[in-house]
């Protein structure tokens, strides 16, 4: 919609202003790493972060959440509970912005998810353009997620002493005009922005050996590839790869009742196709018993199934699954191995 300039010194007052009206969630230090968390002091906000352990999807689909409360007995009652409030999600990298767009589709098409959608509706997203790779595992360039022109309300690009702020929505515009001290971008600012954006591309060197658009077709011939058995040997089936994935959205639902068995609540938490129990059904049958079948399923979700369902690849190249895997299973190596032997 329009481009504005926000001095770096104006970030703290901007965030402080937001904190009065919104829950502000942004990247914070967590030991030597980073995690999205509630910002209670603008100094906590680390816009210089590389990557968070969990993606910001946890703000929209929390790890654990209560879906409903109920009473038991003669006249059972069910009351949905949606815990959502006005939130600003601040400093989201472009790979995660792409992932949220995908989650929006997953939670709104076919079976609209009231809990996700309510939170999504109340969340204003401030994106942050990536100017260098988070680390050696970032392969966003291959996945086409290195930049974006949608999926945010406001988007920041670091110009050195100031941020360029792209205003994409009415919500973003209101937020900026209400809490931000900005000036309109000049021609010189726009030239500087173009320079910065142009200079970033060569810095991203880690990538697939082939065009990611080939992935769905490539995988359609790879169901019986020997790679799966090899990964099955190494995989611990710990579920970390999917738990840190910004586009994985599977969950499990359980009921908990009180001690008197008169009332209870329905809960959901993140689930993972890598876990033993995931494809188990009553009677003890497990439809994806072998670890190799579960790893194959993950690769196929990311490179084929989600594409077939939503028209875009299920991987945004953030590299979190590579970092999280203690057994060093690497999705880029995996895809490249299949390509190399296809």
């Amino acid at each position: 919609m329009s481009l504005w300039i926000l001095d770096k010194g104006a970030i703290a007052p901007f965030v402080e202003g937001l904190m009065a009206e919104y829950r502000v969630v942004g990247p914070k230090a967590k030991g030597p790493q980073f995690a999205f968390g509630d910002i209670t002091d603008p100094a906590q906000l680390r816009l210089d972060y590389n990557i968070t352990i969990l993606p910001p999807k946890k703000v929209l689909q929390p790890q654990y959440e209560r879906l409903a409360t109920f009473t038991l007995g003669e006249d059972p009652q069910v009351e949905p509970t949606i815990e959502a409030g006005p939130t600003v999600l601040f400093g989201v990298h472009t790979c995660d912005l792409h992932a949220i767009r995908l989650l929006d589709k997953a939670f709104s098409e076919e079976y609209p998810d009231a809990h996700y959608l309510k939170r999504r509706e109340q969340t204003i997203i401030v994106g942050l353009e990536c100017l260098e790779p988070c680390d050696e595992h970032s392969f966003c360039k291959s996945m086409g997620t290195l930049t974006t022109d949608e999926g945010y309300d406001l988007h920041l690009t670091d110009l050195g002493p100031a941020y360029a702020v792209d205003v994409a929505t009415e919500k973003g515009k209101t937020l900026l005009s209400q809490y931000g001290t900005v000036r309109e971008a000049t021609d010189a600012d726009i030239r500087r922005l173009n320079e910065v954006l142009g200079a970033k591309w060569p810095r991203f060197t880690y990538r697939l050996d082939f065009d990611a658009a080939e992935l769905p077709a490539l995988l359609s011939t790879a169901y019986d590839h020997p790679l799966w058995a090899e990964l099955g040997e190494r995989c611990l089936a710990c579920g970390s790869c999917t738990n840190v994935c910004p586009t994985c959205y599977c969950f499990n639902v359980t009921d908990e009742v009180n001690m008197h068995l008169t009332a209870g609540e329905r809960l959901r938490r993140w689930d993972s196709c890598q876990l033993d129990e995931f494809a188990s059904v009553a009677g003890g049958e497990n439809f994806r018993e072998a670890r190799k079948a579960r790893q194959r399923h993950r690769f196929f979700r990311k490179g084929k199934y989600i594409y077939e369902k939503f028209g875009e690849l299920g991987c945004v190249g953030c590299g979190r699954c590579i970092r999280a895997c203690v057994a060093n299973i690497n999705i880029v190596d995996g895809f490249n191995a299949i390509h190399g032997t296809a």
Binding site: I53, G239, N243
Partner: protein, 253 residues
């Protein structure tokens, strides 16, 4: 509906799990509305024998333990293993790694022959166990959840997935990224990943998950810098009874 009568028993153990039960009773007073405790040496003087549910802490380490276990099994409709010693054999089973005579000499010296101890075993090696509450000690909230499930006649909700799940969902920094060691990828969750959350690697007190990839775990530990002896020490801390035979097999290779 009359309240189910419940009894607590202990075998070779530190009684820490029963103390955790006492603790849970203080924060969940409604537990006492739901069940009637008729025997609990740790916490009361009365001693009723008409129990329907038996919670057993501790491992079986003597022939005389077997007779007591059979008697409990005969009376109780439901037997629950309480904590790592009852569930796994636990730290007590570390002695199984050494010749029994040496162990007895070490502990009892010249009185060794006065004592009838033998290899430590989990109680399901002796009698049928209907449910387990894992951990060293047990988690008090999980104890409450299991009791509720038993009251409903449902399978207790003890997770079958590994600790890494709870640790990741808490967004802890992975201990392997900090140069530490952890059995989280092969250990049953349910403790809220309490040790890794406080910076200590998991030692496996809740037992291994149903299909642990032990070979991959050993590779990961080796790559992280653990020697074979150190890796074995980690695996056997609580799970000697479960991994000993395989270890002996491997050593023979």
């Amino acid at each position: 509906m009359s309240k189910p009568k419940v009894a607590f028993f202990d075998f070779a153990s530190c009684e820490g799990c029963q103390l955790t039960v006492v603790d849970a009773l203080q924060t969940h007073l409604d537990l006492l509305d739901a069940v009637e405790i008729v025997q609990f040496r740790e916490a009361m003087t009365e001693k009723g024998e008409d129990y329907a549910v038996a919670f057993i802490e501790g491992s079986c380490t003597r022939p005389s333990d077997e007779a007591r276990l059979f008697k409990i099994r005969e009376q109780a409709a439901v037997v629950v293993a309480l904590g790592a010693c009852a569930h796994l054999g636990g730290v007590n089973a570390l002695k199984n790694l050494h010749p029994l005579e040496d162990v007895r000499q070490w502990v009892y010296g010249d009185k060794a022959e006065w004592y009838e101890t033998y290899e430590a075993r989990p109680i399901d090696a002796v009698i049928q166990v209907d449910a387990v509450i894992p951990g060293c000690p047990i988690d008090r909230e999980e104890f409450v959840r299991v009791v509720k499930a038993l009251l409903l006649g449902k399978k207790p909700p003890v997770p079958d997935y590994p600790l890494c799940v709870e640790c990741k969902l808490k967004e802890n920094v992975c201990l392997f990224h900090l140069g530490k060691f952890c059995l989280g990828p092969v250990t049953r969750a349910g403790c809220g990943a309490i040790c890794p959350t406080h910076g200590d690697g998991c030692e496996g007190c809740r037992g291994l998950i149903p299909h642990p990839n032990e070979n991959a775990m050993k590779d990961v530990l080796a790559e992280a810098g653990l020697t074979v002896e150190e890796a074995v020490a980690r695996f056997t801390m609580f799970n000697t009874y479960q991994v000993k035979d395989r270890m002996v097999e491997e050593e023979a290779k």
